[in-house]
């Protein structure tokens, strides 16, 4: 926690509506070291927009402003779009929800990984194939020599997501943003993918921002948690203290999740009026 990797102050993202511009992220402030941060919230809470805003990926007509958006000593807001492209991928990577939409359907997996390799480092032609296979092994894909020749539609969701992770980790970024990396996957595969991300992040000493709607999942894989609601952080706590959360929204969310050993006859429902004033 000594070196600050990312320093965000008063980040705002707004979109125009017929009734004027509306902030979907309302003044978010946080710092991130080489640690694992979880951002939790329901749909519309602004959690995904936060992830994108860090990479300056908010498309027009959306607009983002921040008092400070520093990454590893660089002011991201001051960078040109060209310099920003070098940051994206090379120093900050992002894993999206569904690998189906992130992979090019008409290119083999081997070619796509090779492409990612070539854009980020100078590498001899003959070494490429070996590096690609090495990367696939690192994300624990069996028989990488076969997978290299396959097209995205031929692989399962879990494998697709692991391929995405391989591509994102090739340039060895300092920060990985994972936006709902496993919501499209089955539970058994979910754990594998998250364990993999966890291991790679720990071994390489990267920072991780895990964006998810699933409180328990974030609690399991992160050190610190930000709970977002309606564009604001309502709770910020250590993952292990999540059950001691104080904000009624967080408590409500925790209680609303059915438990494996469920004996309640009715699930407590969020009383949305309780904090809408804040």
């Amino acid at each position: 926690m000594t070196d600050t990797l990312l320093d965000v102050e008063n980040l705002r993202v707004s979109f125009p509506t017929p009734a004027g511009r509306v902030d979907v992220v309302k003044g978010l402030t946080f710092t991130l070291g080489r640690e694992r941060l979880g951002i939790v919230g329901e749909s519309g809470s602004g959690k995904s927009m936060t992830g994108r805003a860090i990479l300056r990926l908010i498309r027009s007509p959306g607009r983002q402003v921040a008092d400070k958006l520093m990454f590893d000593g660089d002011d991201l807001q001051a960078l040109s779009e060209r310099a920003m492209r070098k940051v994206r991928g090379a120093r900050i990577s992002m894993i999206m929800q569904d690998p189906k939409f992130s992979l090019n359907p008409v290119m083999t997996i081997g070619d796509q990984i090779a492409e990612a390799l070539k854009t980020h480092e100078r590498i001899a032609r003959k070494d490429i194939a070996a590096r690609v296979i090495e990367m696939l092994e690192a994300v624990r894909i069996n028989d990488p020599a076969r997978v290299v020749k396959m097209y995205p539609h031929e692989v399962s969701g879990g494998m697709g997501q692991r391929i995405m992770i391989a591509m994102m980790l090739i340039p060895q970024p300092d920060l990985l943003i994972a936006d709902e990396p496993t919501s499209a996957l089955d539970v058994s595969v979910q754990a594998q993918v998250l364990d993999l991300i966890d291991e790679l992040v720990k071994n390489k000493g990267m920072g991780l921002i895990l964006i998810s709607h699933d409180l328990n999942l974030v609690a399991r894989y992160c050190d610190r948690i930000l709970v977002m609601h309606a564009g604001e952080v309502v709770e910020s706590c250590d993952a292990r203290d999540l059950h001691k959360a104080t904000h009624p929204y967080t408590r409500g969310l925790l209680a609303a999740v059915p438990q494996m050993e469920e004996t309640r006859d009715e699930l407590p429902v969020l009383d949305r009026t309780a904090w809408s004033g804040t």
Partner: protein, 251 residues
């Protein structure tokens, strides 16, 4: 008499068999879960019962009467289905009122206004939603409309296809509570497909675990409390879903 009875059910899509040899008896008034991961064939079983996957062999009977291979008019009054995606299951250009009146019109039932108003109240939607269009409602509200549509014909059996997996946790809780209350009030039988074991623990009495088109285990939902499953696949699924006592201790 069982509400749903499946005997030696095989279902194919084209030449591939996706479900094989399924035998399930769901008692009247029971809430039964079909659990499995994607590709396990659990949704296909539901579709076959509803008549949307007509390529099956074996026997499907509902409330004692065997069902044919096609969607049929009378079947609709006994069995209805709620779909997974509240954004895809409502016609984008039809108001709530139209959606709810249509089943009544098709079956020539009268007193439509009163029935629509009662049903909105039953699923916990304010009357001001009656003339709204889907794009004016949230996911949870749409799912309530979808549930209301399924209940308009007062069926005895409801097929639920992952009814809450597309919703936020807080909304999921509301919908699960609603489904539970409706079952109690109207004496419904549920056959629910899901991949979420805690939801089963909350909603269901019994569960069948499916893997690769076959039922590997049928167990009471209380088995989820202690993990007393016999099949190795079920145990893996249980552990992956967080049903691991060691993990609980660390919390």
């Amino acid at each position: 008499m069982s509400a749903i009875s499946l005997k030696n059910l095989d279902i194919s899509y084209g030449t591939t068999k996706v479900v094989q040899g399924v035998n399930i008896e769901v008692a009247e008034g029971e809430s039964f879960a079909l659990v499995g991961e994607s590709g396990s064939g659990k949704s296909t079983v539901l579709k076959a019962i509803a008549g949307l996957a007509p390529d099956w062999t074996g026997e499907i009977s509902l409330l004692g009467a065997p069902r044919g291979h096609k969607v049929d008019h009378d079947f609709a009054t006994r069995c209805q289905m709620v779909f997974q995606d509240p954004y895809g299951s409502l016609h984008p250009r039809k108001s709530v009122d139209t959606v709810l009146s249509e089943p009544l019109m098709i079956h020539g039932l009268g007193n439509r206004n009163a029935r629509v108003i009662d049903m909105l109240a039953a699923v916990g939607l304010d009357q001001r939603f009656r003339f709204r269009f889907p794009h004016q409602m949230s996911g949870g509200q749409r799912q309530r409309v979808a549930i209301a549509r399924a209940l308009m014909l007062e069926p005895k059996v409801m097929l639920l296809d992952e009814p809450t997996s597309a919703l936020d946790v807080s909304v999921q809780a509301e919908i699960l509570n609603l489904l539970k209350r409706l079952r109690r009030e109207q004496g419904l039988t549920y056959l629910m497909v899901t991949h979420n074991l805690p939801v089963v623990s909350f909603m269901c009495d019994r569960m069948a675990v499916m893997n690769k088109g076959r039922v590997v285990e049928i167990a009471p939902a209380t088995a989820l409390h202690d993990g007393s499953f016999t099949d190795p696949y079920t145990q893996t699924l249980y552990a992956a879903s967080g049903g691991n006592p060691k993990y609980k201790e660390t919390l």
